[in-house]
Symmetry: none
């Protein structure tokens, strides 16, 4: 048996894992975790059922694998840091754009993960720490800094951050639910949200004055 040097083997293993995870994401997203069968995942991935178990301990482990891979997609911090210096409104728009893009990419994975996350304590905790809390903390720091600089009005920072995050999570849900306006006008959302969040619905005094 020709053996490969470790580095190549690792790449092969990684490729096979991803091939399986892609299939799992697709099937989970379509049918949900429980209605998805390992047989169908195997077929979708083009491998045998047994092979799945050479790369993952069990079906639930596929979800963990998806979560991990989704986390690797997450690079909010760096991008946030880049925009961190600039104008606040621009930062929001940048962040919103960034999030919306990620959603497009990760929607399938999220759709695969989220329903089961909502239902399983261990996943819930993991998901909360890995995604929600990490980003919440970053946003809190940002907001507090900006408030000190008076770029932002003083607000209840933790709750405001939650409200912001909720909006993102909720948008994902509405998308999954098939909302049409979200589908067709997705790209305009960042601007709309920035207006909503930063400028508020209250008519501008100036505008009123006009």
């Amino acid at each position: 048996m020709p053996t490969f040097p470790d580095s190549i083997r690792k790449q092969l293993v990684e490729a096979r894992r991803n091939q399986i995870l892609d299939a799992a994401a697709a099937v989970f997203a379509e049918k949900g975790f429980h209605r998805a069968t390992t047989k169908e995942i195997a077929q979708t991935a083009g491998v045998s059922e047994g092979t799945i178990y050479n790369y993952f301990d069990n079906k639930a482990d596929l979800l963990i694998g998806l979560m991990t891979r989704l986390a690797e997609l997450e690079t909010l911090d760096e991008e946030l840091k880049e925009a961190l210096q600039g104008n606040v409104r621009d930062f929001f728009i940048a962040m919103f754009h960034h999030r919306m893009d990620r959603f497009q990419q990760g929607q399938e994975m999220l759709q695969a993960i989220l329903p089961e996350v909502l239902v399983t304590l261990r996943l819930r905790e993991r998901f909360y720490r890995q995604y929600v809390l990490r980003i919440a903390t970053l946003l809190e720091q940002y907001l507090e800094a900006r408030i000190k600089l008076r770029h932002i009005r003083p607000v209840n920072v933790p709750l405001t951050v939650r409200a912001l995050q909720s909006m993102f999570v909720g948008l994902l849900i509405l998308r999954i639910l098939g909302d049409e306006p979200l589908q067709s006008e997705w790209d305009e959302l960042p601007e709309v949200m920035a207006t909503l969040i930063f400028d508020g619905l209250r008519p501008c005094p100036e505008e009123v004055a006009e």
Copy 2:
């Protein structure tokens, strides 16, 4: 000989249905639809498994029953209409309060329903029409009216409404995920959200001026 007159029988049937739905909500919320067994639901309800099937066609029908009951909880329209006349900011606060209260009541049911809804096309469509779209339409009408009156700045109405609704949905999710600040400061959310949405994060010109 029919034991009871029809009206009493109907009440008995309704009571039994609710007894079972309560149990189903509890078990679904804790374990999720699939991990919930009819046996456990029966035990929780204090009836036999067979009795469940005297009142519901099948397990999935329990979910439908929960959705229907949740819809009966929903009286947004009327309350919206009441608050419709007043000051816009007050309207938002009232609406937010109203929503937050409903969440408290319906959280268990929603937690039972939502994960499965995300995963099942038929439920998804039903849920979307029954909850999301109905409320979206109301909010759109409200916003448009207020924009005409210049009580609100002109915005992309459908997307803004989606963003608002998303916030609610997302808050529910974060709650399910066990977010601590949301838990402990839940009651302050309406005020925070009203500020966020209506006033925006931008510092007040006057305040800046000070």
Copy 3:
């Protein structure tokens, strides 16, 4: 409580039993014993499920009831005796006519009973004794007598009788199977069978001579 004299009560009881048995026969014949539910029998009979159990011990007891009632339909012996004296060929035709008529009447009951009889040892034994063996014995006696009188050629009596009975049973089966010629030409069967059995398929020497 007004009580009825015993004789009237007995008639009422008998009427109710028959009402239920009629329903059972209909449902068993349509769906078979196992797929027939007591609920449907009750509905068909226009009584409640509980009432069935006031008149029968259990579901299987309904089958026994049907067998008993079918046996009461059977009066072969007397009619046989009447025709016993006459010409042999006429006897066969009379008997065949008689059997065909009985089938018309009892088909539903037989169709209800037979499949389950084939499958249940106790019923099998009962059915065999009650119907097959009783008639077999009569026919054997008849045949033997006629053979002695040289009205019939000497044959293996028991087997010949079985062959005859088999034909009847088989005709019933083919009818249940929906055979079209049997349906449309049912009334001509006695004559055809008499020819087959009594005259045989062999061309008449006289006819050949012609």
Copy 4:
């Protein structure tokens, strides 16, 4: 790596299917379709319950499988054709022998199938077409040809054929019912039946003349 070449795999599959069908035939014949449990079939076959479902869609599919296999046993046509040329009476004896032998072989399968066939529309139709009608057609053709040749007296062909077939079907039923003479004298049946059918019960004129 596929373990086996296709031809071998097919044989393995076929062997396993037969192993399961054998068990199903045994259990169905003993208890009837409904009282037979998949668990018992599995035990009898020496496999697990799950394995059954790797080879058959569901319990009813086992019946279909049995019917198909029984049909493969059926080669009446060829054998009929062989005997077709000879003397008519010999043909009947040959055919009867042939049928009796088949019954011996297929009794268990037939006993397993028939009761359920009588009760299920789809099976009824299938069974009727596959067995009854096919053979009826053959026999009709044979009879008609022989009638033209004056080897057989002119008779109502369809009904006569039905009567003949009925006899076979009925004999099977009586056997299932445990009739003793049929059991012990089974081998003499062909001769008896040939006499009955071909010669008729009527005493031979010559014999009478004697």
